[in-house]
C-alpha cells in the first residue's frame, strides 16, 4: 500500500504565465532605471565622499548640550501623537461599525463607510499636515489634526475587520433574551472587540510617534521643527542628537506598547 500524495499537476499555461510576469517585472526595472537619468558619476564623485567624511562623524558626535531643548520638543511630539491617535481611536469606532457588514446590513452604507476610510488613508500625514498648517496655522494643533485624520483611516479599517470577526451567536443569544440593541452593543459586542481595538490603537500610537517626528518640517509642531532648523544651519551634530533621542524614544515606546498589547488580548 502506498501513501504517496499524487504529484501536483503541472500546467504549461501556468509556467508560461509566470515567465511572462517575470520578464515584465525585469523589463519594468530596466526601463525605470535607464529612463530617470541618474547621474552615477556625480553620486560616486570625490565630493560625495568628502561630504560623507565631513558629515557622518558629526552624527556620531551628537550635541549633548542640546539635550534639554530637544527633549522638550520630543515630549511635544509624543503629545501630538497621543492626542492624535486617541482622537482617531474614537472617531474610527462609528466608521468601523458603519463598514462592518454584520452590523449594518446595507451594502450601500458599508460602501460609503469604506469610501470615507479609503479616502482618508490615501493622504500621507505630511500632506495632511501641510493642509492643516494652512488651515489652523503653524502649531502643534495642525500636527494633532493631521495625525488624527491620518490614523482614522487605518484604525477604522482594522476595527471593522475585528467587528466582522466577532461571535454572532452571542448576539443571537442576547436578542433571544429580550435585550435591546444598545444593551447588546455594551454586553455582547464591546467585550468582544474592545481589547483588540485598544491593541490596534496602541500600535497606531507607535506609528504616530514616528510620523509626528517629521511633521514639524512643514511647521506642524514637534521635534521636526528642530530637525528643520538644525538641518538648514548645517548643525549636523545637533541633527545627530535629535536622531539619537528619536531612536531611543521610539524604541522605548515600542517596547512598552508591545508589552501592554501582549497582555491585552
Amino acid at each position: 500500500m502506498s501513501n504517496r500524495i499524487p504529484p501536483k499537476p503541472k500546467s504549461t499555461a501556468k509556467v508560461v504565465k509566470r515567465l511572462i510576469i517575470t520578464i515584465a517585472v525585469i523589463a519594468l526595472y530596466v526601463w525605470t532605471i535607464t529612463s530617470i537619468n541618474i547621474d552615477w558619476g556625480k553620486i560616486f564623485s570625490q565630493r560625495t565622499i568628502d561630504n560623507f567624511g565631513r558629515i557622518i562623524p558629526k552624527f556620531f558626535d551628537p550635541a549633548f548640550e542640546e539635550t534639554g531643548t530637544i527633549l522638550i520638543k520630543m515630549i511635544e511630539t509624543i503629545f501630538i501623537a497621543y492626542t492624535g491617535s486617541l482622537a482617531a481611536a474614537i472617531i474610527a469606532v462609528p466608521l468601523a461599525f458603519l463598514c462592518a457588514t454584520n452590523m449594518v446590513r446595507n451594502k450601500f452604507l458599508n460602501t460609503i463607510g469604506m469610501w470615507i476610510l479609503g479616502a482618508v488613508r490615501a493622504f500621507p500625514e505630511i500632506i495632511l499636515a501641510i493642509i492643516f498648517v494652512a488651515a489652523v496655522g503653524p502649531n502643534p494643533f495642525a500636527g494633532v489634526l493631521a495625525i488624527a485624520i491620518g490614523s482614522t483611516g487605518m484604525l477604522g479599517k482594522l476595527y471593522s475587520e475585528v467587528i466582522e470577526g466577532i461571535d454572532m451567536n452571542i448576539i443571537e443569544a442576547m436578542e433571544a433574551s429580550g435585550a435591546n440593541k444598545l444593551q447588546i452593543l455594551f454586553y455582547g459586542i464591546m467585550p468582544q472587540v474592545l481589547p483588540e481595538f485598544l491593541s490596534y490603537a496602541i500600535y497606531r500610537f507607535e506609528i504616530d510617534v514616528r510620523a509626528s517626528s517629521v511633521l514639524g518640517i512643514v511647521g506642524a509642531g514637534g521635534i521636526g521643527t528642530l530637525i528643520k532648523f538644525a538641518y538648514s544651519n548645517r548643525n549636523w551634530d545637533e541633527v545627530g542628537m535629535i536622531l539619537l533621542i528619536i531612536i531611543i524614544t521610539v524604541t522605548i515606546i515600542d517596547q512598552i506598547s508591545g508589552y501592554v498589547r501582549r497582555r491585552l488580548v
Binding site: I170, S177, G178, A179, N180, Q183, G188, P191, Q192
Partner: protein
C-alpha cells in the same frame, strides 16, 4: 400554553423548514423533540421565540399570536422565553456573573444596564441561580476558563435569571461527553419540576429523550410524525420517526458512569 396552528415556514431560499404543524404544548410540560438532522427541530424551536419567522399559520404563545410581533412586543415576548444553545453562547471574556446578570437585560433600563447598575435583588437572583446549578464558586472567573459542562450550567443560570415561563434548548448536550450531558439534562429536568417552567429540548439521543421527557415529538422532513407520552415510546417508535434502524450513535449512554 404554546399552540401551533397550521404553521408552516419557508426559508428565503425556498427550503421548507416546517410543513403545516398543529400541536399544543401545555404549561409545565417537558417536551423533547427528536428527528434526524434537517428534520426541522431547530426551526420548530426557534419559531417560538421568533428567531425565525414562520410564513404561514398562527403561533400562539401565552394567548397571543406572535407572528406579527416586532420591536418592543417582540422583546417582551422574548423576555418570557429563555434559550439554551449547543455552544453555550457566553461572552467568553466576561465574568460568569456578568454573563448571568445579562439575563436581566430585558427587564433593565438601557442607561442603567450600560452603567452596570442592576437592582440588588437581581444580583442576588443571579447568585442564587449560579448556586442552583452548583457553580457559584466560579462567580468571578472569566467564562472561557470554564469547561464545556460548566459553561452550559452558567448558561442555564443565565436563562433562570431571566425568570422565563418557557425554556427552549437546542441540542444543549451535543457538545458534551455522556456524564456531563446527563448532569445538564438533570438540571433542566429539576428546574422544570421545581419551577413549573415549560421546557422544550431538541435532542439527538433516543435514550436521553426517553429518560427525561414527559412527552416526545418526532419530526421528519418538516412534519410532526409522532407525538405521545414518553412512557409509550419504544425503540420501534424511533425507527418509525427516523425511517431507519436505530444505530449506536443514536444513543448517548454513559448514565451508569456517574
Amino acid at each position: 400554553m404554546i399552540e401551533f396552528k397550521n404553521l408552516s415556514m419557508t426559508y428565503p431560499n425556498g427550503t421548507k423548514g416546517l410543513k403545516n404543524i398543529n400541536i399544543k404544548i401545555n404549561e409545565g410540560e417537558f417536551v423533547v423533540i427528536v428527528g434526524l438532522s434537517g428534520a426541522g427541530k431547530s426551526t420548530f424551536i426557534r419559531s417560538i421565540n421568533r428567531l425565525v419567522t414562520p410564513t404561514e399559520g398562527e403561533l400562539i404563545v401565552d394567548g397571543e399570536d406572535i407572528l406579527h410581533h416586532n420591536g418592543r412586543s417582540l422583546r417582551e415576548l422574548r423576555k418570557k422565553i429563555g434559550m439554551i444553545f449547543q455552544n453555550y453562547n457566553l461572552v467568553k471574556r466576561s465574568t460568569v456573573l456578568k454573563n448571568v446578570i445579562a439575563g436581566r437585560l430585558g427587564y433593565t433600563g438601557t442607561l442603567k444596564s450600560i452603567f452596570n447598575i442592576f437592582p440588588k435583588e437581581d444580583m442576588e437572583l443571579a447568585y442564587t441561580n449560579l448556586k442552583r446549578v452548583n457553580i457559584a464558586d466560579k462567580l468571578y472567573n472569566r467564562a472561557d476558563e470554564l469547561s464545556g459542562g460548566q459553561q452550559q450550567r452558567v448558561s442555564i443560570a443565565r436563562v433562570l435569571t431571566q425568570k422565563p415561563k418557557v425554556i427552549l434548548a437546542d441540542e444543549p448536550v451535543a457538545s458534551l461527553d455522556p456524564p456531563t450531558s446527563h448532569q445538564v439534562m438533570k438540571y433542566l429536568k429539576q428546574i422544570n419540576q421545581e419551577d413549573k417552567i415549560t421546557t422544550i429540548v431538541n435532542l439527538h439521543f433516543i435514550d436521553m429523550a426517553m429518560e427525561y421527557a414527559d412527552r416526545i415529538i418526532g419530526m421528519r422532513d418538516g412534519k410532526v410524525v409522532y407525538d405521545g407520552p414518553a412512557s409509550e415510546v419504544t425503540e420501534q417508535t424511533f425507527e418509525e420517526i427516523y425511517g431507519r434502524a436505530i444505530r449506536e450513535e443514536d444513543m448517548r449512554g454513559g448514565e451508569e458512569d456517574e
